[in-house]
């Protein structure tokens, strides 16, 4: 079973829940899909055995040929290519690497090269976690290219925990779309609720079963619980607003390492999810 851990709002406790859950399960696969700011390795402290580079294909234009590149410009849906007064102007940041300009452009004058956009680190973490982490090169926009590559390494024979990037745009959608269940972590504040509502809409649209874990329970108000009850959304657990958990987190300790009870509580959450997904 593949369980993704997501949230609309950033900093609500996705990683707290994801790494805690992975340690509670013990033997599982863990993937950090927050490739723009991966941080699960601070807590799971994996030993990395292999770092693979991820590249995308990007066109380059042989300008000296004096060829007419107007068809490349017409074809590009993302406006990454312009052709004005015999000169081609290319915008790598807008290019999605589809290769269309190579196909429609003047033969031999549009070539492709590999451009490295990031890495995938693979290793193991205690007790028996098969650990993968994506890392995007700063300044690159190819988040999805790295996540798609990571999809190929998902082991469907074991329990898989995926830590999602925050938000509800493409990087989050790519993360949750292949999961069997999504845990939405939120905080009980109007801000948390606002972003939770957006996440719920995304998951309902994608038809992915989900439940909520409330983090920092005790702050804010009861708006999140009222929302969940009115929408028939299951609240899987609540993590109290406890200074000891925050202190441990700031030292790179997981909630399971900080307080014993969380191992069983997360295992109960897994049982609940298994029940929910049948």
């Amino acid at each position: 079973m593949i369980i993704s851990v997501a949230s609309g709002k950033g900093g609500t406790g996705k990683t707290t829940v994801a790494v805690g859950m992975a340690q509670a399960i013990g033997f599982c696969q863990f993937l950090d899909y927050d490739v723009e700011a991966p941080n699960a390795s601070f807590f799971l402290r994996p030993s990395i055995k292999n770092i693979e580079k991820v590249s995308i294909r990007q066109p380059y234009f042989l300008k000296d040929t004096g060829a007419d590149f107007s068809r490349c410009a017409d074809f590009c849906h993302y406006n990454a290519v312009a052709f004005v007064k015999g000169e081609v102007v290319f915008f790598p940041d807008l290019c999605h690497g589809c290769g269309g300009c190579v196909l429609v452009g003047p033969q031999g004058s549009v070539r492709e090269k590999d451009v490295v956009v990031g890495t995938i680190s693979k290793g193991t973490a205690k007790p028996g976690i098969n650990f993968l982490m994506g890392n995007l090169i700063p300044g690159s926009l190819r988040t999805i290219s790295i996540q798609n590559k990571m999809n190929e390494y998902i082991n469907h024979d074991e329990t898989v925990i995926i830590d999602s990037p925050p938000g509800t745009s493409c990087p989050m959608v790519t993360t949750v779309r292949n999961s069997d269940y999504c845990i939405l972590v939120t905080e009980p504040t109007p801000f948390g609720l606002n972003d939770l509502e957006i996440s719920v809409k995304v998951l309902r649209k994608l038809d992915i079963p989900f439940g909520v874990i409330i983090n920092r329970d005790g702050i804010g108000d009861s708006c999140v619980e009222e929302f969940c009850s009115s929408k028939n959304i299951i609240i899987l657990d609540k993590i109290p607003n406890d200074i000891n958990i925050a202190r441990a987190y700031s030292r790179g300790m997981t909630i399971v390492e900080c307080q014993d009870q969380w191992k069983n509580r997360f295992l109960s959450v897994i049982k609940e999810i298994e029940k929910e997904t049948g």
Partner: protein, 130 residues
């Protein structure tokens, strides 16, 4: 000489649209004979690269100068490649801009004056890249 002005409407009385790439229309004014035509900006709803496409369309019309308020880096690069002069920071009506242009009261711009995605407005400039 043809000059393109980013415009909120299709007539000379229209006001200048402050966003070059996401302008509603462009008035293409020909100072030889004082005639003009308006073209609708078909790329203004593009998720990205609207200014690039607009700059290319304008270049294809044989325009030699652009008058607008704000112009971003990508559109600027295309206009530069097309050797089109850019007069940015201009506001008011299209008509007044044309008059001032004919009097030679503008200075050309040597760099873009706003960042990428400026024309998309607050809150709309993120997450649309993929």
């Amino acid at each position: 000489m043809k000059v393109a002005i980013s415009s909120n409407g299709e007539s000379l009385e229209s006001s200048i649209d402050p966003r070059f790439g996401r302008s509603q229309y462009y008035i293409i004014y020909n100072t030889d004979g004082d005639t003009y035509e308006s073209i609708s900006n078909t790329s203004r709803q593009a998720t990205g690269g609207a200014g690039i496409q607009a700059a290319q369309d304008i270049s294809n019309k044989g325009v030699e100068a652009v008058i607008t308020t704000n112009i971003g880096p990508n559109a600027y690069r295309v206009l530069e490649a097309a050797r089109i002069k850019v007069y940015s920071g201009v506001t008011g009506s299209v008509k007044n801009a044309v008059e001032d242009f004919k009097k030679g009261s503008f200075n050309t711009t040597s760099s873009p004056n706003v960042g990428e995605k400026f024309g998309m407005g607050p809150g709309n400039a993120r997450g649309g890249k993929e």
